[in-house]
Symmetry: none
Subunit: 185 residues, 4 copies
DNA sequence: GATGAATGAGACTTCATTCAT
DNA sequence: GATGAATGAAGTCTCATTCAT
């Protein structure tokens, strides 16, 4: 139950941080969501910041395992890998509201909490690397890397628009542009 | 001095909200930046929220006058208009740090403070309309509008990346893509 | 206009103190009611407390002139005097809402602002003396004085009930009891 | 200790609200009286208003149990019940200073905080009903009810006078009048 | 005489954190 | 591992008062 509870706190925090923001989410909010008192959370995490870093790691690990991994799946063709990757991204950000925790945190605390910014960059780096890996055969390493950075930016922009206008098409369109990059040959 | 002081508070608040976030910026922070006590700000704005809304309006008005207006400048060719527009966008977001207040707020409080979200959407709507206006002759109204939405998203994504990685190239590249949309004929 | 404005401030303050209480009425409230800014009130009164004391004096003077005086009106019989007195009391407290400023202040700040308590006692003393003056011929000085104190208390209690239940009968009944004291012969 | 501490806060608040008034008593005042910091009180009550409502309920419950109950004590004769009732009232309001919290609040916030007014009326209703219950056998329901309302008003007026003049006789006299209502047969 | 702005204290309330039970 | 209670700092906002214009 220890592990389960810890993960429970992380998952509730993830949702709250995403929807309400980091500074606007109190330990009491998190406690309430978990069915705990705020003080009890300190049995699992030493501070609000430590909790948030665990949440960031949780998201990052999830993407490594369930999203980015598709880019390196050697049992599939490049086009298939990309399709699976895109599908995973779209499924993830369509399933729950609040957009992308990493993007949200980047804009909320990117300039004030450098510990967070470092980890968010690492996540974006992995995202970029995954896409670059898929584009490299066709475009070469240098250009693929550059294109991947642009794609990540475009995707984050699309998620922002999707959230602000409550319309999932934005992300879908951005992903189609990405898909086109490989289907053009 | 009234007008000046009110605008002074707005400008300091703009900077602080942008860099530190809305919830992480206290009235005391703003007061200190303006050389006032926290309580004195209430001589100008009835609440922190009212102040933030004034800041949002200030930014929106600025963009209408100094950025979006380029798209409607009938003394220039379409290509020139677009070039001026792009130049204004790039200058604005390169000049100061903290990215785009509107995008930042969209992600920090978009789901919590609907009064803010409405105004931010209005800003993005105007931005979109300006670009659509430039693309319509070549692409037709429907497609231009759609492309404009994508461009705005891409720009916001680029600003996010620019801020996170502290590299201005992101925005420059996004703008080049926009420029290419008209120079391709 | 000086005198008029000063009295204007007093009258608005009287109403606000009566309905909202002393501590719950701000100088800004009073200013707004008078069409002034809060700072302007200090052109008339040196402090909130000085203003309140002026209001107390205003009420006391009004009662001396228009209510208590009936008890000493030598052109009338005792029964007539009492009837006029009662009529004046009833008219006053029925005309406006908020009950009796003096009673309200007695209970709100009687133990914390002795300057107020002293003046409120003086007002009650005069009220008591007026009634005692009317009852003395029939009951003798000692007993009349005692009865008058009881009558004043009963009247204040009736005003409290009248205000709490929003029913003017309470005061009317109390006044009838007073009237009966002289008509019983 | 929970119950004890919560009741402790209520009792200190009762005393302070009674003597200093509601708006003139700060959470810091209450905290100091309880040996707590102002913020700690929010572990017991969600707001100052919630605390005040708990205080009102506390007083009301106390009167139901220790004062009004005498009126319904079937083991005693009517005259004894009334004597016990009167004795309880007199003991209560003589024991502590500040008068009657309910009456004080009625005049301070009766027109501003309707949540308070409703509860205060309920308290006065029960008080009235208790006296009416005692007077009904002799006077009939209708008249007894009317007389009871007058008695409650007179008692409150007496408590006001008692507090303002710092003389306990007022209440004693009012109670004697009440006692006479039954001893006249 | 009126105003807009400033002040400093203080109001209610929230928060992250700690700790004995 | 959970809780209730405490803390002290900080947050938004209000207030009485002052003063230059």
């Amino acid at each position: 139950m220890t592990k389960a509870s810890k993960e429970l706190v992380i998952e509730h925090s993830l949702r709250l941080f995403k929807v309400q923001g980091y500074h606007n989410t109190s330990m009491a909010d998190i406690g309430t969501a978990c069915g705990l008192l705020k003080g009890s959370i300190y049995n699992y995490f030493s501070s609000k910041e430590a909790l948030a870093l665990a949440v960031i790691k949780f998201v990052h690990d999830y993407f490594k395992q369930y999203v980015f991994a598709h880019a390196y799946d050697e049992t599939r063709s490049e086009t298939e890998r990309l399709a699976n990757f895109i599908q995973a991204v779209e499924a993830y950000f369509t399933a729950e509201s609040g957009g992308c925790l990493m993007g949200n945190l980047a804009l909320e605390v990117g300039d004030t909490l450098p510990q967070f910014a470092t980890r968010i960059r690492a996540y974006f780096d992995d995202w970029t690397a995954a896409i670059a890996h898929l584009l490299t055969p066709q475009y070469g390493l240098i250009q693929a890397k550059q294109m991947a950075l642009t794609v990540v930016g475009n995707t984050q922009g699309a998620i922002m628009m999707m959230r602000l206008y409550q319309k999932p098409e934005f992300l879908h369109l951005a992903n189609q542009s990405l898909a086109d990059l490989l289907s053009q040959n």
